[in-house]
């Protein structure tokens, strides 16, 4: 391509969309995990659900402003083209936005909603329905319903890139898996970051779940990224040349230093180090807020760089 058509707006959208999917995924998981007869991680479920709609809202706005005519975005929703991943993705995003907003509402503290509703002017009194006591009962069904939709939002961006035969850097199903695991991992990381920055800090049980989850996701990401590279290097010439963009080509430093080392390897090491009392079963587990925050920031940074590399390198790659 003479000049890349998709730029930073798309990079950030891919990151933010994945982030929302990851947040909802962790929140939905936490909604269902029980200890005894009660929920095991009520705070994770709540904070995750309260945060989930907003990165995507920002990302969708970026996406709309990247269009030639931003106001024509509605045209995505008057048709459905099942062979276009972007059409599928637009509908997934719409469904996911609805589910995350409902879930956000169902998790709002009663005192907050009560306060808002009491201050409503007379004309808007009908909005008192927002304070309906039954909204809490929506939490579990919404988590169940949103689970596959969140996974869909996490993976479709990778499918969208992978579905382009003209760009050998993208044209493999592994891109979808990399994006999915990265999305889930960044969701975990943002929760770690937010909770570790709160005055109360990260609870040991929460940290244990989030770190375990994130370690598993990062390891999964490794085991998709490495086959992606190996497979690419053993593919027909056009794919080998495309992989060359990160193996000595212009995206090598971004991929290996910024993404692979700083965004994947280092946070994995930090999180394993944090978890060593659990892994070695020696001492009691006291998560360090500083280390947790640093590893979370690194995971988020890696998520952005990953999308940067794929969006820009993919557009450069082509058949000769």
């Amino acid at each position: 391509m003479p000049e890349p058509r998709w730029g930073w707006l798309i990079v950030l959208y891919l990151f933010l969309g994945g982030l929302s999917a990851g947040l909802f995924f962790v929140s939905a998981l936490a909604t269902y995990l029980q200890r005894g007869s009660g929920p095991a991680y009520p705070r994770l479920a709540r904070v995750g659900a309260l945060l989930a709609p907003w990165p995507l809202a920002l990302g969708s706005a970026l996406l709309v402003f990247d269009l030639g005519h931003w106001y024509r975005f509605y045209k995505l929703f008057v048709t459905f083209h099942w062979r276009s991943p972007m059409s599928i993705g637009a509908w997934l995003l719409a469904a996911f936005t609805g589910i995350t907003l409902l879930s956000f509402w169902s998790w709002l503290p009663a005192a907050t909603v009560g306060g808002w509703v009491r201050r409503l002017p007379r004309r808007l009194r009908f909005l008192r329905v927002l304070d309906a006591p039954w909204r809490e009962t929506l939490r579990r069904p919404l988590a169940m319903l949103g689970f596959p939709v969140a996974l869909g939002v996490g993976i479709y961006t990778g499918v969208l890139l992978g579905a382009v035969q003209a760009r050998p850097f993208w044209n493999t199903n592994l891109v979808a898996q990399i994006f999915l695991f990265s999305a889930m991992s960044t969701g975990c990381a943002l929760l770690i970051l937010v909770l570790s920055l709160r005055r109360a800090g990260l609870e040991a049980s929460e940290a244990r779940l989030l770190f375990s989850l994130d370690i598993v996701l990062i390891v999964l990401e490794f085991f998709v990224v490495l086959p992606y590279l190996i497979h690419g290097a053993l593919s027909p010439l056009a794919v080998r040349e495309a992989i060359g963009l990160v193996m000595g080509g212009p995206f090598t430093v971004a991929f290996w230093v910024l993404f692979f080392t700083l965004g994947l390897l280092l946070p994995l090491v930090l999180e394993l180090w944090e978890m060593r009392p659990v892994l070695l079963e020696r001492q009691t587990f006291h998560p360090s807020r500083g280390l947790a925050a640093v590893s979370a920031v690194l995971v988020l940074f890696g998520g952005v760089v990953l999308r940067y590399v794929f969006v820009f390198a993919g557009q450069v790659s082509a058949f000769q």
Partner: protein, 188 residues
């Protein structure tokens, strides 16, 4: 061809290109821009240049290229709104009013044949001069070429010159491996 396209009795427009005749005068580019009002800095067709060898044994080859009006166009497949479409006669076109300007088709085209039109803010491309073709004329690029590099015609017309040329001379298409079934035939 007819079976693969699943069309009977209708024309299937295509171009054959005899690149060895090209002298790189760029008249086709100028004609295209004038005919279609293509914005400054944007092009619907181009001439790929290749130079090689070492003095005094040199070579230069020129190869015109534009939209291949593929039989399985990936740009049409990925379009989320249906703005990119293909007519029964094979021409790949864009409904400018339905295009949201997302750029997915620009990226999905293996031939980099599409561009973002900064004036209309939607995607634009070679239309094979559909307005001329529908009026029974050939595209501006084919008509203007002084060395008759381009041969425009109907693949379904057994008596036509395009069918005759492609039947009697060897030809190849570009980047067939992307599966788009391109219909820009380069004569060998």
């Amino acid at each position: 061809m007819r079976e693969r396209l699943g069309i009977k009795g209708k024309p299937r427009w295509a171009l054959a290109i005899d690149a060895r005749k090209c002298i790189n005068c760029k008249a086709c580019i100028v004609a295209c821009k004038a005919e279609n009002g293509v914005p400054l800095g944007k092009f619907r067709n181009r001439i790929n240049e290749e130079h090689g060898g070492s003095y005094p044994h040199l070579r230069a080859s020129f190869e015109p290229e534009q939209c291949h009006h593929c039989a399985s166009p990936s740009c049409v497949r990925v379009c989320p709104t249906g703005a990119s479409y293909q007519r029964d006669d094979g021409l790949v076109l864009v409904h400018a009013n339905d295009c949201i300007g997302c750029g997915y088709c620009i990226i999905a085209c293996p031939y980099d044949a599409r561009y973002f039109n900064p004036e209309t803010r939607v995607v634009d491309k070679c239309t094979m001069c559909v307005h001329r073709v529908d009026a029974g004329r050939e595209p501006a690029c084919a008509e203007t070429c002084p060395s008759r590099v381009r041969l425009f015609g109907d693949l379904h017309d057994g008596e036509g010159s395009l069918r005759h040329t492609l039947d009697s001379r060897r030809s190849q298409v570009k980047k067939e491996q992307t599966g788009n079934h391109p219909q820009l035939y380069y004569l060998l």
